[in-house]
Symmetry: C2
Subunit: 205 residues, 2 copies
């Protein structure tokens, strides 16, 4: 079954909220509460959860840990995914730091930069290699996913090199619209879009 | 007319792509080309642009600069919006740097932190004040929008203080789901969601 991208987005958000509820010690949650926490309408939440094959009880709602596991299984997050990061500037280091504390199944295993002052250093427990070695690293370690946090002017060249070496998915933090083959999945995270949206909604009121 | 949030998102993306095309020296663009660049279906692009009141010509498509201006007018981006940033860690500094180079109408005018080593310093041309002065600053300067890049544990306390001082819109870069009054607009930018999505789509194939 081909699942729509928006559904995947929502499932990832539910999973995150369920994980938070479990941490807070809650064992059950109603769909309307999960809807409120995740910011999506209740009917959509119920439909999505029916799609992953989990049924709550009208009396007690959903079991938090069971549902979280169910979504994780549905998304078939593998045991562990190894990711690399290219560009160890402020943003790159912020992401290295942030990722350590989050999803334990996704780990950044290496960072790359062209700056000699950063190469061979360890930031937030991640070793930084010279960018020249990235192609070999990807091939030898079967890396599929890369995060790009280089300056805009270098983004396309880096992306092309990564794809050539076998990268199949890229999280792109640069404002550049990368040109890659259609089979490569790109997620653009443009930090300014969020700011422009907030400005619009605050001024539009 | 109340415009759906998703439409606003798309208009902001079109505006960005049009600006890029103008920079590249292109004067006209067809809807299917703009659709391709922005990643949305052509029929949606045409409908959105009809909504902002701009009609292209079948022979030449849309005039790039006229359309960009038309969208900007529609979004009624005011002359200049002043924004503050709280939390001058790696991510905060990355955003200070990034924002300087982007939308000239939105400017970060001040940064705040509780760390004495960061206070009274200038990062990417922005002065950092002590967090204790943030409430006065917001009131005296009529600031509506804030970016939060503090550690997760401090996010809610900061958000509450900002809202109390008059902040109406927040770009939240922490993984915390902030509790604020309904009239405050929050845009959550969770950097891990994008990574989880890419991992899913790469592994799902």
């Amino acid at each position: 079954m081909k699942i729509a991208e928006n559904t995947i987005n929502r499932l990832i958000v539910y999973k995150k909220e369920l994980n938070r509820l479990a941490t807070d010690g809650l064992s059950n949650v109603y769909s309307h509460k999960l809807a409120h926490l995740s910011g999506f309408p209740s009917h959509l939440v119920r439909r999505d959860l029916m799609n992953v094959g989990y049924n709550g009880s009208p009396a007690h709602g959903y079991n938090v840990t069971e549902l979280e596991k169910c979504i994780a299984d549905f998304l078939c997050t593998p045991e562990s995914v190894r990711v690399i990061l290219v560009g160890v500037g402020n943003l790159g280091r912020a992401i290295l730091d942030y990722c350590q504390q989050q999803n334990p199944k996704i780990s950044i295993v290496a960072a790359f930069d062209k700056d000699k002052n950063k190469v061979n250093k360890v930031y937030h427990s991640i070793y930084t290699f010279h960018i020249d070695s990235v192609k070999n690293y990807i091939k030898e370690n079967n890396i599929d996913v890369a995060i790009i946090t280089v300056p805009a002017a270098e983004a396309q060249e880096i992306a092309s090199a990564l794809v050539e070496s076998g990268i199949k998915g890229i999280v792109n933090f640069t404002p550049v619209r990368l040109q890659v083959p259609a089979e490569v999945y790109i997620e653009n995270l443009d930090m300014m879009l969020g700011l422009e949206k907030v400005v619009y909604f605050v001024n539009g009121d």
